[in-house]
Amino acid sequence: MSDQSSEPKIDLADVPGDGETSVATDDSAWAFSPEREQRYQEIVRRYPTNFSAIMPTLWLCQEEWGWLRPSIPEWVAERLDVPLSRVYEIITFYTMYYTEDPGRYNLQVCRTASCHIMGAQKIVSHIKERLGVETNQTTDDGMFRLEEVECLGACGMSPMMQVGKVYHENLTVQKVDELLEKWRNDG
């Protein structure tokens, strides 16, 4: 289906990570911003099959709406004309597609080999204590979430964590405190 003409029924500006979820009641409620719609069209034109295009399309959705909100998978399946099961195959196998709100700042601390050797658990314990959360929990204000993840390829700069697109490397407890302080102030 073509969404070029349909009006977005949700306010895109305040969607990502705002806590209250705007649930689309019918599939036509979702529409990419013009810039992402253009990127979507290019993906469909360049990828050899629509199945191959599922991953990049889901990435576009996640960029647009923060996470894969209910009925987005259905919308993607319909737009790409692929079975919904194939979209869920991707969403459930890969760890980076979110079907629930990952929070404003999702602290993904690497726990694998080199980071473990260099004190990843000290960082994890410190964050737990500071934020009063356990691993895979979000703070009550929806601001921070703590995750322990597998090797992120920053072994020589360990310990480290990823927040959004950014790698924070050579972490110390002081550095973590400074970052948490900064993000609190930024809101």
Binding site: R46, R86, F93, A113, S114, I117, C155
Partner: protein, 438 residues
């Protein structure tokens, strides 16, 4: 070693090294200009074959030989897939090429595509390297704008489409057939070989999957010739390699070294890691990424960084991700961390791996909790025996190799956790051990 040319990392320290302007200023894309219209794909394949360049992702298969497996008469499209799904624990070398010299990889990829007569290339970058996806996309856009990609490259009549594809967090997609399935829009579960991807790969078409670092060596080989490349390194391990070294060191990082250099020089050499951090003593080293057998300190001091010497020491060069371990690290805890990684990353397709990685993880976990049983080391070996060689891909083997070598070489640390007598133990897996694989 100072006289060894830098083939892969020459541009890393330059300002704006990621831009086309800087890359071309210092001779970039000259290999491509010298090749298109002047050298046939067969000649290029032959040159790379003669250079002895081996796959740098971990398997070490000769790249030119692999290219030669592509059937040229099927009438089907031929694909080149660039494996930038760097996820092996201890490995962070491709990241430096993607970040500081993306055009080197792109030029190598165009040359490789030309060599196998491919008109379609995908660069599959791990999802977590989000900023590198942007970086590489910008470089690809520059190359398109300069006529180095797309239709009729540099007026040669050769055309190539290049697409940057972002993964989404699955270690197994670094396995070449897992990567192919992922790119086809499926779970990244590996395929049974044969048929090999060179014959039946992406969309059932002939497909070559090469690691970023392998491709990055191709422009230099074209510019300087196969003989110059084989003059570096050892007979069986020609050329240079990037080693990513991590752990409690004075100067961990990514270093390009001629293959065959002693591992102790990499760890203690002034030009490299400069030794252990103050107060830390070398205890062990995993030389090639977490999936290869571990070396004791003594073995580390006598091994050389090349395929044959590491094989003699019972381990492998792998990806060149050297994890250096200090005397303070508890080996049982470290093994537990590695096993939980493999447990988490097992794709779930083969029973020995899906169940075996979980059992290894949980048995070591209960040892650490003080709830082990007297025969647990035999039990671990029994599980390893059931896993190794019994699965479609080598992820199971990759879990078994550290497990076996850790227990063999640091047995006292494991035995210290064994109870003397069997008694009923209530064991509850920790959160991480209880995670179900996907």
């Amino acid at each position: 070693m100072a006289d060894c040319p830098l083939i892969l990392s020459a541009n890393f320290d330059k300002a704006d090294s990621h831009t086309l302007a800087v890359y071309e200023r210092d001779g970039g894309y000259s290999a491509l200009r010298e090749t298109l219209g002047k050298t046939t794909p067969e000649q290029l394949r032959e040159e790379v074959k003669n250079s002895g360049l081996r796959g740098r992702g971990g398997a070490g298969f000769p790249a030119g030989v692999k290219w030669g497996f592509v059937p040229q008469d099927t009438g089907k499209k031929i694909y080149l897939l660039v494996n930038a799904d760097e996820s092996e624990p201890g490995t962070f070398k491709d990241r430096f090429i993607l970040d500081y010299d993306p055009h080197l990889m792109i030029e190598g990829s165009i040359l490789a595509s030309y060599a196998i007569n491919s008109g379609h290339c995908f660069i599959y970058i791990r999802g977590e390297y989000a900023w590198l996806v942007d970086r590489v996309q910008a470089a690809v856009d520059e190359a398109y704008a300069a006529g180095l990609l797309g239709r009729d490259i540099l007026g040669s009549g050769y055309s190539l489409e290049m697409i940057v594809h972002r993964g989404a967090g699955a270690y197994i997609c670094g396995e070449e057939t897992g990567l192919i399935n992922s790119l086809e829009g499926r779970k990244g579960q590996p395929r049974i070989k044969p048929p090999f991807p060179a014959v039946v790969g992406f969309l059932d078409c002939p497909t070559i999957v090469n690691n970023v670092e392998t491709l990055a060596a191709v422009p230099w080989i074209v510019n300087n010739g196969a003989a110059a490349y084989t003059a570096i390194g050892t007979e069986k391990s020609p050329g240079t390699k990037l080693f990513s070294v991590s752990g409690p060191l004075k100067r961990p990082g990514v270093y390009e070294i001629p293959l065959g250099m002693p591992l102790r020089d990499l760890i203690f050499g002034e030009d490299y890691c400069q030794g252990m951090a103050p107060g830390v003593e070398l205890k062990a080293c995993i030389p090639g990424g977490s999936s290869v057998p571990i070396l004791t300190a003594e073995e580390t001091m006598s091994a050389n960084c090349c395929y044959e010497s590491l094989a003699e020491h019972g381990t492998m060069l792998g990806s060149g991700g050297a994890i250096v371990i200090g005397h303070e690290t508890n080996m049982v805890e470290l093994l537990k961390v590695l096993l939980q990684f493999y447990h988490h990353e097992s794709c779930g397709q083969c029973t020995p791996c899906r169940e075996g990685t979980g059992w290894l993880d949980m048995i070591v976990d209960r040892l650490l909790q003080g709830r082990g049983r007297p025969a647990d080391l035999e039990l671990l070996e029994h599980v390893c025996e059931g896993m190794i060689g019994n699965t479609i891909c080598v992820l199971a083997d990759a879990a078994v190799m550290p497990a076996r070598s850790f227990i063999e070489k640091f047995k006292n640390e494991f035995e210290a956790l064994l109870p003397e007598m069997e008694e009923p133990q209530d064991y509850v897996p920790t959160t991480s051990a209880a995670e179900l694989p996907h």
